[in-house]
């Protein structure tokens, strides 16, 4: 097997691995640890390090301490503890938590306090998790570097001059710096997997419909998904198990039964067929990233996987399709921000029409406006067939290509992103260059399949590299199984 630096050797100054959910649960049940002191410890760490990382936008200390005290009382009474008892978690700021500001990283929602909880948040609460606060992200989840937040960029805990990836940059950075044991993110074109790769943590894109979108501030409804970040594959499986399942409040929520993801992480991978798509290893892939991912593939081979080269011939068209479909949906979804019912209203408006225009002009950042314009253009009379309809047709081709591939293999392995974390400012002036950071992630988004990113090594400079595992619709168990096998080798467990 090729020699690559393990993810643990590349620990940056602010990087720290949280204790595992399993150990945490046991120590709370046995009285070795109290949820309240654990939460206090996290707030102390956040107070100390958040000013450098800028991961948290709001803290919910009062709520968290109440939740933690309730867990301590249950533990003291010897009652069985819920699955995420006392686990300190953070929530991406595009998900609602009743009464707590939900900015979506945008100025237009600066003072918005949602009147209800997102279903994913409700499920965490019901499972005993302690909600520490809301996490920074690119505005309306539009971005690949977290530089598009109206509340300042998030810095990568591994290297503070680098981006954490986006759009769920705060969610990835918080886990990487142990400012939470697990976090919620959202992924529309790569916004969980790419930051997980950049920050050296695990990030999961569940199958479309597997986790409810109720309470998620919509960007592109046919693509948006909610999923977990955690420091290990098993922890990610524990959290997804809590999040997954049918919700009558989301019409696209799936009714399939939820598998035992945690058990899947302990299954060996012997005999699994793994597809390696040639198109994901071509021009533009950084050689160090390639080496780390190939080391991960070698590890799977060594554990008995059958490695097969496959073709996904239309992959190059995924970025164009994505940036038409996602922006078209965004232009419709973001029409609701008009200064009437919630959010920012311009004080210079003189009539209704100027109130709409000025509120949106002053409230939205440049990238959001760019995408609204692109989406509106693609949907407008004379261009609909050439752009939007064409994109939807190619979307079907991309989805069918995956379906055919999964008739041959159990999972697909590829790099998560073409490079490791880039420098802050490096791509922010060139939207197209930024969009290409999503080149290996958007296809799975369009196809609705599941995927994840697991650390598989690091560059010589110590920057983490993520290996992407893709699975068929509702194939989460398979990708957890494969990811755990990669993790066992690269982290020497």
């Amino acid at each position: 097997m090729r020699e690559t630096m393990s993810a643990q050797e590349s620990v940056g100054p602010l990087r720290q691995k949280p204790q595992s959910i399993r150990k945490l649960r046991a120590s709370l049940a046995e009285g070795h640890q109290r949820a309240t002191s654990l939460a206090e410890g996290y707030y102390a760490r956040i107070e100390r390090f958040n000013p450098q990382i800028n991961a948290y936008l709001a803290l919910t200390r009062e709520l968290a301490m109440e939740q933690a005290a309730a867990i301590d009382a249950q533990a003291a009474a010897g009652n069985p503890l819920p699955p995420l008892a006392g686990v300190p978690v953070g929530i991406k700021d595009v998900l609602t938590l009743r009464g707590v500001p939900a900015t979506a990283g945008s100025r237009i929602l600066e003072n918005y306090r949602p009147p209800y909880d997102a279903t994913a948040v409700t499920r965490l609460r019901d499972a005993g998790a302690v909600l520490l606060g809301k996490l920074n992200c690119d505005e309306f989840a539009m971005g690949s570097s977290n530089e598009n937040s109206a509340y300042g960029p998030v810095r990568n805990p591994v290297a503070l001059d680098r981006v954490p990836g986006g759009s769920s940059g705060g969610s990835a950075a918080a886990v990487a710096a142990d400012l939470a044991v697990a976090t919620l993110g959202t992924d529309t074109g790569g916004s969980i997997r790419q930051p997980a790769s950049f920050c050296g943590v695990v990030g999961v894109l569940p199958t479309y419909g597997r986790v409810s979108r109720y309470g998620l501030i919509a960007f592109a409804s046919s693509l948006d998904r909610v999923g977990p970040f955690a420091a290990s594959v098993q922890d990610a499986a524990e959290v997804l198990h809590v999040l997954a399942g049918h919700d009558s409040l989301d019409a696209t929520s799936a009714t399939q039964p939820v598998d035992d993801y945690v058990a899947a992480t302990a299954q060996d991978v012997k005999g699994m067929k793994i597809g390696i798509p040639e198109e994901y290893f071509g021009e533009g892939l950084d050689p160090e990233v390639r080496a780390a991912v190939e080391a991960g593939i070698d590890a799977l081979r060594a554990q008995g996987c059958e490695i097969r080269s496959i073709r996904l011939r239309h992959t190059q068209y995924a970025i164009p399709v994505y940036y038409l479909v996602a922006t078209a949906e965004a232009s419709a979804n973001l029409a609701r921000f008009d200064g009437v019912r919630f959010g920012y209203r311009s004080s210079s408006a003189t009539n209704l029409s100027s109130m709409y225009k000025l509120s949106r002009e002053e409230g939205f950042g440049a990238e959001v406006k760019r995408r609204i314009l692109l989406g509106t253009y693609a949907l407008s009379a004379g261009y609909y067939d050439a752009y939007y309809r064409k994109a939807q047709q190619v979307r079907r081709i991309l989805a069918e290509e995956f379906r055919d591939a999964f008739a041959e293999v159990d999972a697909i392995v590829a790099p998560t992103a073409p490079t490791a974390a880039f420098r802050i400012g490096e791509k922010s002036a060139d939207p197209l260059a930024m969009y290409l950071a999503d080149i290996y992630t958007v296809t799975a988004s369009l196809a609705g399949i599941c995927g994840l990113s697991v650390p598989c090594g690091a560059t010589a400079a110590g920057l983490p590299v993520g290996l992407q595992v893709l699975g068929p619709h509702f194939g989460e168990s398979a990708i957890f199984r494969v990811a755990a096998a990669v993790e066992r080798t690269t982290q020497g467990e």
Partner: protein
């Protein structure tokens, strides 16, 4: 497909999207839209004459679902809605019952 987007078109689209762009902003957007649409143009290489558009991925796996399509609709029954005061608290301007806006019709 790949005609250059003009400033007039940027302004027309901004109007459709209820965005008021500053002059300098419109020029930037024109440049960016042209770069992105130029990249998007490669879709023309694919023959899609026989392909149905796909708006939602749900149709790909609905056949494998354990229930029929209709059963995932929720039961039509009364349930509590949000408190009006909670909702109105988020409004920029309200009298408690209605959202207030600037004049709609100028006289």
């Amino acid at each position: 497909m790949s005609a250059e987007v003009t400033i007039a078109e940027v302004e027309r689209v901004a109007e459709l999207a209820n965005l008021e762009l500053a002059a300098e902003e419109a020029a930037h957007m024109q440049r960016d839209l042209n770069a992105i649409l130029g990249y998007v143009d490669q879709l023309r290489q694919i023959d899609t004459s026989q392909v149905e558009p796909m708006a939602q991925v749900g149709e790909l796996f609905v056949a494998t679902r354990t229930d029929s399509r209709g059963e995932s609709l929720r039961v039509d029954e009364l349930r509590p809605s949000l408190q009006r005061t909670d909702v109105m608290d988020s409004a920029p301007e309200t009298d408690g019952a209605f959202f207030k806006t600037p004049k709609v019709i100028e006289r």
